[in-house]
């Protein structure tokens, strides 16, 4: 299934700036390299504090890198200078963050349409697509509610489809289901797989949950503790469409889980 690499991370390094003449801060990421193929669902797993969010921030270009490069197709993004950053790479990289980051003064529908609005791409066709997404994740009837009137799971769904609605070629996801209860989490994972099956976007999904990484991904990368590097790579061959609830009993699941667990320190 993997074709040409759509996104390539090469020798990426990151440390935060020194403050007031003190010792330089330690490396968060050092010489990290990997690539993502077009249409691939890549999951990245690592212990907490391994610089996973920092990595996604650098790829999304809302943070600078101290060394290395990120290539989109063959285009090299300038990462050294904060002023030269191009957050979201001209709307080609979507980013679903840990927090839902919904605009609290906007209703669900306004939040979902916000990217299309600012990109001046709101037309009957894109609006219909957004409304379809709202129905698909069960937010119908809550279009005109404000974020504080929604449950945590509903806010997550709104945040997820806000990014899907404007259809960027690559979507980064930073533990989007981390703070949810097990049941809601399972529902959202199923929603995500169903949505992914509709469009087969390229997804880079960061998590600290091994089962989630296996359940969702075509391939899983294991990050080491800081400074983070790639500690292992696992191709998940469990056929799709996958039944997340019955996944534990799949013969491949247990072995893959054990191999990954041995690498996650």
């Amino acid at each position: 299934m993997p074709g040409q690499p759509l996104l390539e991370v090469r020798d990426l390094s990151k440390r935060f700036a020194m403050r007031g003449g003190r010792e330089p801060s330690p490396w968060i990421i050092q010489d990290l390299s990997f690539s993502v193929a077009d249409g691939e669902f890549l999951t990245i797993i690592g212990p907490s504090g391994a610089g996973k969010t920092t990595l996604l921030n650098v790829i999304a270009q809302i943070d600078t890198a101290s060394g290395g490069e990120v290539r989109y197709q063959s285009e090299v993004a300038p990462l050294g200078d904060a002023k030269a950053l191009n957050p979201g790479l001209s709307c080609r990289i979507g980013y679903v963050t840990q927090e839902d980051n919904l605009l609290p003064w906007r209703t669900t529908i306004e939040n979902v349409l916000f990217p299309l609005n600012v990109q001046r791409r709101l037309n009957p066709e894109t609006r219909a697509r957004a409304e379809m997404l709202i129905r698909t994740v069960g937010l119908a009837g809550f279009e005109h509610h404000y974020p504080h009137e929604l449950s945590g799971g509903m806010r997550k769904r709104a945040s997820l489809i806000r990014t899907l609605a404007y259809d960027p070629p690559i979507i980064l996801m930073d533990e989007p289901f981390g703070a949810l209860d097990a049941q809601t989490r399972l529902h959202l994972q199923e929603d995500l797989l169903r949505l992914w099956n509709l469009g087969r976007k390229t997804i880079v999904f960061v998590t600290h949950d091994i089962a989630e990484a296996i359940a969702l991904g075509d391939r899983t990368l294991v990050l080491s503790r800081t400074p983070s590097r790639i500690a292992g790579e696992h191709v998940i061959t469990i056929p799709r469409p996958r039944d997340i609830r019955g996944l534990m009993s799949h013969p491949e699941f247990g072995a893959t889980y054990e191999r990954i667990r041995a690498q996650v320190q």
Partner: protein, 272 residues
């Protein structure tokens, strides 16, 4: 946190409608008591010191019909409005400008904060010296008194904006202008409305004080001119109308605030 309202301490389970009527009745009773105290005070102190409320009411009606009170009110309202608009304009624009120039901000911030301490009313003689005796010195006074609370609130509001929301907006392709209008402006609206609650009554007060000193029209002129002629009823007339003006402005502000804060859960939860 809320002010304890005695009307709300009625036995639990009592009909809410009845409680609300009790609050209204209490308010009316308090108003009647205040007017009564005013009337008694006037009778005791004599008309030179405290004007009789009925005579003040009579005067307000007469001067409204003759048009002179309308003219005074219009002049003061116009002065307060233009001064308020200017103060708001600079109080909002300057923080947004400084946001783009962090080094300049660091350089000028201590000076701006120190200048908060200058008593603005003390500057009026200078304003008269510099800007003459037309509207200009009064506009400076009103403008400055509005500028500071608005500037400080907007400045603090901008610093308080959630960086994650700005990053989200950037990633989805929002321009800097869109971010300023949609994310930053909406985030700081609660700060801005808090500032307006101070700035709006101040604008009216500053206009009146400006009129004490310069000019021959406006509520401030009416109050001061009446005092010079030992016309205490005229003084009270001006005070009552000025107070009513501030109350009306505040009511409008509360209504506007409520409309723009509909998305916030806080207000309604605080009520009971």
């Amino acid at each position: 946190m809320t002010v304890h309202d005695s009307a709300l301490d009625l036995p639990q389970g009592g009909p809410i409608k009845w409680r609300r009527h009790a609050v209204t009745a209490g308010r009316v009773a308090l108003a009647v008591a205040l007017v009564l105290a005013w009337k008694i005070g006037a009778d005791v102190a004599g008309p030179l010191y405290i004007a009789d409320p009925l005579k003040v009411l009579q005067r307000i009606v007469d001067d409204t019909l003759s048009g002179s009170l309308v003219r005074h009110t219009y002049v003061t309202l116009r002065l307060a409005t233009i001064g308020f608009a200017l103060g708001c304009l600079f109080g909002i624009a300057l923080p947004f400008l400084l946001r783009r120039l962090p080094r300049l901000t660091n350089a000028v911030e201590p000076y701006i904060m120190a200048s908060v301490g200058i008593p603005k009313y003390a500057l009026v003689p200078l304003f008269i010296l510099w800007f003459g005796i037309d509207d200009a010195p009064k506009l400076w006074l009103v403008g400055l008194l509005v500028f500071y609370p608005v500037f400080i609130a907007v400045f603090a509001g901008i610093r308080n904006v959630d960086r994650a929301l700005i990053n989200m907006a950037r990633v989805v392709g929002a321009s800097e202008a869109t971010i300023a209008r949609e994310v930053i402006w909406n985030s700081l609206l609660p700060f801005f409305f808090a500032a307006l609650k101070i700035a709006l009554p101040r604008a009216v007060s500053a206009a009146i004080i400006g009129e004490f000193l310069v000019g021959n029209e406006g509520l401030g002129y009416l109050i001061e001119h009446s005092r010079q002629n030992f016309d205490t009823t005229g003084v009270f007339e001006g005070i009552v109308v000025a107070t009513a003006l501030v109350l009306v402005i505040n009511a409008v502000l509360v209504a506007v605030d409520r409309r723009y804060s509909a998305w916030r859960p806080t207000d309604r939860q605080m009520e009971l």
